[in-house]
Protein backbone atom coordinates (compact mmCIF):
# COMPACT_ATOMS: atom_id res chain seq x y z
CA UNK A 1 0.00 0.00 0.00
CA UNK A 2 1.14 3.55 -0.72
CA UNK A 3 -0.57 6.62 0.67
CA UNK A 4 -0.16 10.33 1.23
CA UNK A 5 -0.91 11.84 4.61
CA UNK A 6 -2.39 15.14 3.45
CA UNK A 7 -3.00 16.62 6.90
CA UNK A 8 -0.78 15.85 9.89
CA UNK A 9 0.75 18.05 12.57
CA UNK A 10 4.10 16.35 12.77
CA UNK A 11 5.66 18.99 15.05
CA UNK A 12 3.51 17.36 17.76
CA UNK A 13 4.49 13.79 16.89
CA UNK A 14 7.43 11.54 17.67
CA UNK A 15 10.03 9.88 15.50
CA UNK A 16 8.24 6.58 16.24
CA UNK A 17 5.23 8.02 14.41
CA UNK A 18 7.38 8.87 11.40
CA UNK A 19 8.74 5.33 11.35
CA UNK A 20 5.29 3.77 11.73
CA UNK A 21 3.89 5.92 8.91
CA UNK A 22 6.74 4.96 6.59
CA UNK A 23 6.32 1.31 7.49
CA UNK A 24 2.65 1.56 6.56
CA UNK A 25 3.49 3.04 3.12
CA UNK A 26 3.39 6.79 3.65
CA UNK A 27 5.01 8.50 0.66
CA UNK A 28 4.63 12.17 1.64
CA UNK A 29 3.27 14.15 4.57
CA UNK A 30 1.65 17.59 4.47
CA UNK A 31 1.44 19.79 7.54
CA UNK A 32 -0.92 22.77 7.75
CA UNK A 33 -0.16 25.49 10.29
CA UNK A 34 -2.49 25.07 13.27
CA UNK A 35 -3.20 25.90 16.89
CA UNK A 36 -0.66 24.60 19.39
CA UNK A 37 -3.24 23.67 22.05
CA UNK A 38 -2.38 26.98 23.67
CA UNK A 39 -2.15 30.47 22.18
CA UNK A 40 1.19 31.32 20.59
CA UNK A 41 0.14 34.86 21.34
CA UNK A 42 2.86 36.89 19.66
CA UNK A 43 4.01 37.52 16.09
CA UNK A 44 7.49 36.32 17.04
CA UNK A 45 6.12 32.95 18.14
CA UNK A 46 4.38 32.56 14.78
CA UNK A 47 7.52 33.59 12.94
CA UNK A 48 9.46 30.87 14.75
CA UNK A 49 6.67 28.36 14.05
CA UNK A 50 6.89 29.15 10.34
CA UNK A 51 10.65 28.57 10.51
CA UNK A 52 9.95 25.23 12.20
CA UNK A 53 7.46 24.27 9.45
CA UNK A 54 9.65 25.35 6.55
CA UNK A 55 13.12 24.41 7.80
CA UNK A 56 13.31 22.18 10.87
CA UNK A 57 10.40 19.78 10.30
CA UNK A 58 11.17 19.00 6.63
CA UNK A 59 14.74 18.25 7.71
CA UNK A 60 13.45 15.94 10.47
CA UNK A 61 11.17 14.14 7.99
CA UNK A 62 14.01 13.89 5.47
CA UNK A 63 15.99 11.83 7.99
CA UNK A 64 13.35 9.16 7.39
CA UNK A 65 13.32 9.75 3.64
CA UNK A 66 9.84 11.28 3.83
CA UNK A 67 8.98 14.37 1.75
CA UNK A 68 7.39 17.01 4.01
CA UNK A 69 5.17 19.84 2.76
CA UNK A 70 3.45 22.61 4.67
CA UNK A 71 0.75 25.30 4.59
CA UNK A 72 0.97 28.66 6.35
CA UNK A 73 -1.53 30.88 8.17
CA UNK A 74 -2.66 32.07 11.58
CA UNK A 75 -5.16 29.46 12.71
CA UNK A 76 -8.83 30.38 13.31
CA UNK A 77 -8.53 29.69 17.06
CA UNK A 78 -6.25 32.71 17.36
CA UNK A 79 -8.19 34.86 14.90
CA UNK A 80 -10.25 36.64 17.55
CA UNK A 81 -7.37 39.11 17.81
CA UNK A 82 -7.23 40.93 14.43
CA UNK A 83 -4.17 42.99 15.36
CA UNK A 84 -2.11 39.86 15.97
CA UNK A 85 -3.59 38.23 12.86
CA UNK A 86 -2.74 41.23 10.68
CA UNK A 87 0.85 41.14 11.78
CA UNK A 88 1.24 37.38 11.29
CA UNK A 89 -0.34 37.55 7.83
CA UNK A 90 2.08 40.37 6.93
CA UNK A 91 5.11 38.06 7.05
CA UNK A 92 3.57 34.98 5.39
CA UNK A 93 4.85 36.27 1.99
CA UNK A 94 8.41 36.04 3.39
CA UNK A 95 7.95 32.25 3.66
CA UNK A 96 5.66 31.49 0.73
CA UNK A 97 8.48 30.69 -1.73
CA UNK A 98 10.16 28.16 0.57
CA UNK A 99 10.44 24.86 -1.30
CA UNK A 100 7.98 22.90 0.89
CA UNK A 101 5.16 25.50 1.12
CA UNK A 102 2.05 24.40 -0.82
CA UNK A 103 -0.26 27.28 0.03
CA UNK A 104 -2.36 29.02 2.68
CA UNK A 105 -3.86 26.84 5.44
CA UNK A 106 -5.45 25.63 7.51
CA UNK A 107 -7.54 28.77 7.50
CA UNK A 108 -11.24 28.84 8.32
CA UNK A 109 -13.48 29.44 11.31
CA UNK A 110 -13.68 28.10 14.84
CA UNK A 111 -16.62 29.71 16.69
CA UNK A 112 -17.97 31.53 13.62
CA UNK A 113 -17.32 35.02 15.01
CA UNK A 114 -17.07 38.27 13.07
CA UNK A 115 -13.35 38.66 13.73
CA UNK A 116 -12.66 35.08 12.66
CA UNK A 117 -14.54 35.77 9.43
CA UNK A 118 -12.59 38.98 8.85
CA UNK A 119 -9.27 37.16 9.32
CA UNK A 120 -10.47 34.39 7.00
CA UNK A 121 -11.21 36.99 4.32
CA UNK A 122 -7.72 38.47 4.72
CA UNK A 123 -6.21 35.02 4.19
CA UNK A 124 -8.40 34.43 1.13
CA UNK A 125 -7.26 37.78 -0.26
CA UNK A 126 -3.62 36.87 0.38
CA UNK A 127 -4.03 33.48 -1.34
CA UNK A 128 -5.65 35.17 -4.34
CA UNK A 129 -2.92 37.80 -4.50
CA UNK A 130 -0.12 35.24 -4.32
CA UNK A 131 -1.99 32.67 -6.45
CA UNK A 132 -1.81 30.01 -3.75
CA UNK A 133 -3.77 26.82 -3.06
CA UNK A 134 -5.99 26.95 0.04
CA UNK A 135 -6.58 24.35 2.74
CA UNK A 136 -9.59 25.08 4.96
CA UNK A 137 -10.33 23.95 8.51
CA UNK A 138 -14.06 23.75 9.23
CA UNK A 139 -15.27 24.23 12.82
CA UNK A 140 -15.88 21.50 15.34
CA UNK A 141 -19.09 19.72 16.29
CA UNK A 142 -22.16 21.97 16.61
CA UNK A 143 -20.35 24.84 14.86
CA UNK A 144 -19.37 22.89 11.74
CA UNK A 145 -22.51 23.25 9.62
CA UNK A 146 -22.88 26.99 10.05
CA UNK A 147 -19.13 27.57 9.75
CA UNK A 148 -18.85 25.51 6.57
CA UNK A 149 -21.62 27.57 4.95
CA UNK A 150 -20.01 30.87 6.00
CA UNK A 151 -16.61 29.71 4.68
CA UNK A 152 -18.04 28.58 1.33
CA UNK A 153 -19.83 31.92 0.96
CA UNK A 154 -16.61 33.84 1.73
CA UNK A 155 -14.65 31.80 -0.83
CA UNK A 156 -17.35 32.10 -3.47
CA UNK A 157 -17.51 35.86 -2.90
CA UNK A 158 -13.90 36.30 -4.03
CA UNK A 159 -13.75 36.60 -7.82
CA UNK A 160 -10.22 35.16 -8.09
CA UNK A 161 -10.74 32.01 -6.02
CA UNK A 162 -11.22 28.83 -8.04
CA UNK A 163 -12.96 26.04 -6.09
CA UNK A 164 -10.71 23.43 -7.77
CA UNK A 165 -7.78 24.96 -5.91
CA UNK A 166 -9.40 24.81 -2.46
CA UNK A 167 -9.83 21.82 -0.16
CA UNK A 168 -12.44 22.05 2.60
CA UNK A 169 -11.29 19.74 5.35
CA UNK A 170 -13.06 17.90 8.18
CA UNK A 171 -16.29 17.30 6.25
CA UNK A 172 -18.90 14.95 7.69
CA UNK A 173 -22.23 13.57 6.49
CA UNK A 174 -24.00 16.91 6.95
CA UNK A 175 -21.42 19.06 5.12
CA UNK A 176 -19.83 16.91 2.40
CA UNK A 177 -22.58 17.56 -0.15
CA UNK A 178 -22.53 21.36 0.08
CA UNK A 179 -18.74 21.32 -0.37
CA UNK A 180 -18.72 19.03 -3.43
CA UNK A 181 -21.81 20.65 -4.93
CA UNK A 182 -20.05 23.99 -5.03
CA UNK A 183 -17.02 22.54 -6.81
CA UNK A 184 -14.54 22.39 -3.93
CA UNK A 185 -12.43 19.44 -2.86
CA UNK A 186 -13.42 17.72 0.40
CA UNK A 187 -11.24 16.22 3.13
CA UNK A 188 -12.42 13.68 5.70
CA UNK A 189 -10.59 13.57 9.03
CA UNK A 190 -10.38 10.23 10.80
CA UNK A 191 -10.60 10.79 14.54
CA UNK A 192 -11.53 8.30 17.25
CA UNK A 193 -14.09 10.56 18.95
CA UNK A 194 -15.07 13.45 16.72
CA UNK A 195 -15.18 13.94 12.94
CA UNK A 196 -15.22 10.63 10.95
CA UNK A 197 -14.55 7.05 11.94
CA UNK A 198 -13.06 4.77 9.26
CA UNK A 199 -16.44 3.08 8.71
CA UNK A 200 -18.24 6.41 8.24
CA UNK A 201 -15.55 7.71 5.89
CA UNK A 202 -16.06 4.67 3.65
CA UNK A 203 -19.84 5.18 3.87
CA UNK A 204 -19.36 8.77 2.68
CA UNK A 205 -17.31 7.52 -0.28
CA UNK A 206 -20.07 5.03 -1.10
CA UNK A 207 -22.67 7.80 -1.00
CA UNK A 208 -20.77 10.63 -2.70
CA UNK A 209 -18.18 8.88 -4.87
CA UNK A 210 -14.41 9.08 -4.94
CA UNK A 211 -13.91 12.27 -6.96
CA UNK A 212 -12.27 15.32 -5.34
CA UNK A 213 -12.12 13.80 -1.88
CA UNK A 214 -9.34 12.60 0.42
CA UNK A 215 -8.83 11.26 3.93
CA UNK A 216 -6.37 12.35 6.60
CA UNK A 217 -5.46 11.58 10.18
CA UNK A 218 -4.98 15.23 11.22
CA UNK A 219 -2.81 13.73 13.97
CA UNK A 220 -1.67 16.35 16.45
CA UNK A 221 -1.14 16.81 20.20
CA UNK A 222 -4.66 15.52 21.00
CA UNK A 223 -6.32 12.11 20.77
CA UNK A 224 -5.59 11.13 17.17
CA UNK A 225 -4.13 8.21 15.23
CA UNK A 226 -1.19 8.81 12.87
CA UNK A 227 -1.99 5.56 11.03
CA UNK A 228 -5.69 6.34 10.57
CA UNK A 229 -5.42 6.55 6.76
CA UNK A 230 -3.80 3.14 6.16
CA UNK A 231 -6.10 1.57 8.78
CA UNK A 232 -9.11 2.97 6.94
CA UNK A 233 -7.66 1.57 3.72
CA UNK A 234 -7.54 -1.85 5.39
CA UNK A 235 -11.17 -1.47 6.41
CA UNK A 236 -12.07 -0.56 2.81
CA UNK A 237 -10.24 -3.69 1.68
CA UNK A 238 -12.25 -5.75 4.17
CA UNK A 239 -15.38 -4.22 2.65
CA UNK A 240 -14.38 -5.54 -0.74
CA UNK A 241 -12.73 -2.55 -2.40
CA UNK A 242 -9.80 -3.33 -4.65
CA UNK A 243 -6.33 -1.82 -4.74
CA UNK A 244 -7.17 0.61 -7.53
CA UNK A 245 -10.14 2.06 -5.67
CA UNK A 246 -8.13 2.45 -2.48
CA UNK A 247 -5.10 3.88 -4.26
CA UNK A 248 -7.24 6.55 -5.90
CA UNK A 249 -8.57 7.78 -2.57
CA UNK A 250 -5.41 7.63 -0.47
CA UNK A 251 -2.72 8.37 -3.06
CA UNK A 252 -3.89 9.68 -6.43
CA UNK A 253 -6.49 12.14 -5.18
CA UNK A 254 -4.10 13.95 -2.82
CA UNK A 255 -1.48 13.99 -5.59
CA UNK A 256 -3.99 15.45 -8.05
CA UNK A 257 -4.98 18.23 -5.69
CA UNK A 258 -1.51 19.12 -4.46
CA UNK A 259 0.28 18.90 -7.80
CA UNK A 260 -1.60 22.08 -8.69
CA UNK A 261 1.28 23.61 -6.74
CA UNK A 262 4.38 23.16 -8.89
CA UNK A 263 6.53 22.54 -5.81
CA UNK A 264 4.68 19.29 -5.03
CA UNK A 265 6.49 16.32 -6.56
CA UNK A 266 4.52 13.15 -7.11
CA UNK A 267 6.25 10.61 -4.84
CA UNK A 268 7.97 7.76 -6.56
CA UNK A 269 6.10 5.05 -4.66
Amino acid sequence: MRYIEPHAHMVSRTTDDYQAMLTAGCAAVCEPAFWAGFDRGTPEAFYNYFLQLTEYEPARAAKFGLPHYTWLCINPKEAEDPILAREVISFIPDFIDKPNVLGIGEIGLNKNSRNELKVLEWHIELAAELDQLILVHTPHLEDKLKGTKLILDALKAHPKIKPDRVIIDHVEEHTVDIVLDRGFWAGMTLYPESKCTPARAIDILENYGTEKIWMNSACDWGISVPLAVPRTALEAKARGYNRRWIDKVIFQNPVNFMKQCKKFKKPDA
Binding site: R114, L145, E173, H174, I178, D181, E206, Y208
Partner: protein, 101 residues
Protein backbone atom coordinates in the same frame (compact mmCIF):
# COMPACT_ATOMS: atom_id res chain seq x y z
CA UNK B 1 -33.37 17.92 3.77
CA UNK B 2 -31.63 19.65 0.88
CA UNK B 3 -31.21 17.81 -2.38
CA UNK B 4 -27.63 17.48 -3.50
CA UNK B 5 -26.08 17.24 -6.94
CA UNK B 6 -22.98 15.68 -5.39
CA UNK B 7 -25.07 12.77 -4.19
CA UNK B 8 -24.38 9.87 -6.51
CA UNK B 9 -26.28 6.67 -6.60
CA UNK B 10 -25.39 5.14 -3.24
CA UNK B 11 -23.51 1.91 -3.53
CA UNK B 12 -22.46 -0.76 -1.09
CA UNK B 13 -19.73 -3.25 -1.73
CA UNK B 14 -21.32 -5.81 0.60
CA UNK B 15 -24.54 -7.70 1.12
CA UNK B 16 -26.66 -6.99 4.17
CA UNK B 17 -25.45 -10.20 5.78
CA UNK B 18 -21.83 -9.24 5.20
CA UNK B 19 -22.41 -5.77 6.68
CA UNK B 20 -24.07 -7.33 9.72
CA UNK B 21 -21.27 -9.86 10.09
CA UNK B 22 -18.72 -7.07 10.02
CA UNK B 23 -20.40 -4.35 12.07
CA UNK B 24 -23.20 -5.80 14.22
CA UNK B 25 -21.15 -6.57 17.34
CA UNK B 26 -19.51 -3.16 17.28
CA UNK B 27 -22.87 -1.39 16.86
CA UNK B 28 -24.43 -3.55 19.59
CA UNK B 29 -21.64 -2.55 21.95
CA UNK B 30 -22.17 1.15 21.17
CA UNK B 31 -25.94 0.83 21.58
CA UNK B 32 -25.55 -0.67 25.05
CA UNK B 33 -23.04 2.06 25.90
CA UNK B 34 -25.63 4.69 24.97
CA UNK B 35 -28.28 2.95 27.06
CA UNK B 36 -25.90 2.74 30.02
CA UNK B 37 -24.98 6.42 29.56
CA UNK B 38 -28.66 7.41 29.73
CA UNK B 39 -29.13 5.20 32.84
CA UNK B 40 -26.10 6.91 34.42
CA UNK B 41 -27.43 10.38 33.63
CA UNK B 42 -30.87 9.51 35.02
CA UNK B 43 -29.39 8.08 38.21
CA UNK B 44 -27.43 11.23 38.88
CA UNK B 45 -28.52 14.25 40.96
CA UNK B 46 -29.39 17.49 39.20
CA UNK B 47 -31.25 18.67 36.13
CA UNK B 48 -30.92 18.06 32.42
CA UNK B 49 -28.97 20.64 30.46
CA UNK B 50 -29.12 21.50 26.74
CA UNK B 51 -26.65 18.76 25.86
CA UNK B 52 -28.70 15.85 27.13
CA UNK B 53 -31.90 17.43 25.80
CA UNK B 54 -30.27 17.66 22.35
CA UNK B 55 -29.01 14.11 22.71
CA UNK B 56 -32.51 12.77 23.40
CA UNK B 57 -33.84 14.70 20.41
CA UNK B 58 -31.06 13.34 18.21
CA UNK B 59 -31.98 9.78 19.22
CA UNK B 60 -35.37 10.35 17.60
CA UNK B 61 -33.53 10.70 14.29
CA UNK B 62 -32.12 7.19 14.64
CA UNK B 63 -35.47 5.51 15.16
CA UNK B 64 -37.68 4.40 12.30
CA UNK B 65 -37.21 4.12 8.56
CA UNK B 66 -35.86 7.60 7.85
CA UNK B 67 -32.88 7.56 5.47
CA UNK B 68 -29.53 9.30 6.11
CA UNK B 69 -29.68 8.84 9.86
CA UNK B 70 -26.09 9.93 10.54
CA UNK B 71 -26.67 13.16 8.63
CA UNK B 72 -29.95 13.76 10.48
CA UNK B 73 -28.28 13.28 13.87
CA UNK B 74 -25.48 15.70 12.94
CA UNK B 75 -27.97 18.28 11.69
CA UNK B 76 -30.05 18.01 14.86
CA UNK B 77 -26.95 18.70 17.00
CA UNK B 78 -25.87 21.69 14.86
CA UNK B 79 -26.23 25.44 15.33
CA UNK B 80 -29.03 26.24 12.84
CA UNK B 81 -28.35 30.01 12.71
CA UNK B 82 -26.58 31.66 9.81
CA UNK B 83 -25.03 34.96 10.98
CA UNK B 84 -21.53 35.28 12.49
CA UNK B 85 -21.60 35.88 16.24
CA UNK B 86 -20.27 39.11 17.74
CA UNK B 87 -17.36 37.54 19.60
CA UNK B 88 -16.03 34.01 20.16
CA UNK B 89 -17.03 33.03 23.73
CA UNK B 90 -13.98 30.75 24.00
CA UNK B 91 -12.33 28.22 21.76
CA UNK B 92 -14.09 24.94 22.43
CA UNK B 93 -17.22 23.25 21.15
CA UNK B 94 -19.32 20.93 23.30
CA UNK B 95 -21.18 18.86 20.71
CA UNK B 96 -24.65 20.35 21.05
CA UNK B 97 -26.07 23.79 20.35
CA UNK B 98 -26.97 25.77 23.51
CA UNK B 99 -29.75 27.51 21.60
CA UNK B 100 -28.83 31.19 21.79
CA UNK B 101 -26.57 33.29 19.45
Amino acid sequence: MSKSNAKKKSTSSMTRKQILDMYFMDARCKLIDIAAFLDRVERSEGRDDFRIKSFRKAIDEVIGNKKNKARRVLLSLSDPTSKPIAKAPGKGACGAWPGKS
